[in-house]
Symmetry: C2
Subunit: 207 residues, 2 copies
């Protein structure tokens, strides 16, 4: 793409570095910004640089935060003895969107995956173990993706917490809402039969 | 979407204002930037604010430029007596990408479209007429989109230039490469027959 302005070209190149944005889309976005008021564009650019330089990770749960302790941890209306262990910030956002969870989180920052070179040391597992020792929560809910890496991580952390008085659970695996039995994979279907739940409890959940 | 950081939320909202980018994509882009080095993010944000505040329009052709006169106008290797009239900057980029045009441009900034409230006064038509009077180019090539508004604009400018010694042409309308006669609309097919070209000339063009 040949552009007559190096300023424009720079902006297009920077946009094109973002995932899923090619040169043509980048140009469209830049020309859109060019038509906007200068103050709006400054607001856009500042929101991004500010976000990168000022955002922190919560010292307690490693969620993203403006302060040392995030809003979720600092919220006294939430159960402080119920910790949901997730892989990353996106999972926190997904669970928060359901508005069904009233506890707090612990963000691992990834899952154990030797093939990708990610070992327990790169994650916040030690901090979690320390946190369990200090805060003595009653339950740890693992909400990790249902695959080998996720299961390995659950197993590893479970071993580290052996002997401590804490209930360790994992979110239910089963047929999703709107899913069809016919098309479910065998593993999921098998698990959903093994872990079947009494109907009255099920109705209680969807209420 | 419930986010634990207002800085993050701000950045996501700003991204989501861009055309074709929803909240989920915005979050993905912001989390991508969050993982990058701070210097890279600063470079991104500066490229955009700088582009908006420093970019100018060429005083001669109204193309986007870093200086008062754009690179294309300032290039003495290009034919200065051949002006291609286009609707917007994107058209300049499209034509430049073909690497087939060796003249200079005039960007109208839109086309006459009474329904959208765009009259000749909002466009750079007066500047074009003045430019033709002063620079005395030999040919004006209209490369506008083939619709009523485009044709109106060509007609309007044509009238303004009446009596001046200048050749006025428009880019060829016809069946596009790879197109199928069967699926071409009647108007295009009819025009392509009326404006048929000798085969030797045609071969000359694609060489």
């Amino acid at each position: 793409m040949i552009l007559s302005s190096s300023l424009l070209e720079n902006a297009v190149n920077e946009f094109a570095k973002l995932p899923g944005i090619g040169k043509k889309t980048a140009l469209r976005l830049v020309l859109h910004l060019l038509k906007k008021e200068e103050t709006e564009v400054i607001a856009f650019s500042e929101a991004i640089s500010k976000m990168r330089s000022q955002v922190r990770f919560c010292k307690r749960c490693f969620n993203i935060s403006d302060k040392d302790i995030c809003n979720i941890c600092a919220n006294n209306h939430r159960r402080q003895d119920l910790i949901c262990v997730v892989e990353n910030i996106r999972d926190v956002i997904a669970i928060e969107s359901t508005q069904q969870f009233n506890g707090i989180y612990h963000v691992l920052g990834g899952i154990i995956s030797p093939l990708d070179g990610i070992g327990p040391d790169q994650l916040t597992i030690d901090a979690l173990v320390l946190r369990v020792k200090e805060e003595k929560p009653t339950e740890l809910i693992f909400a990790l993706n249902p695959n080998i890496q996720g299961d390995t991580t659950v197993y590893f952390i479970g071993r580290k917490l052996q002997g401590m008085e804490i209930k360790i659970t994992t979110i239910a695996r089963g047929i999703s809402f709107g899913g069809e039995l016919e098309y479910a994979d065998e593993m999921t279907l098998a698990k959903s039969i093994t872990n079947r739940i009494p109907v009255d409890q099920y109705i209680g959940q969807v209420k």
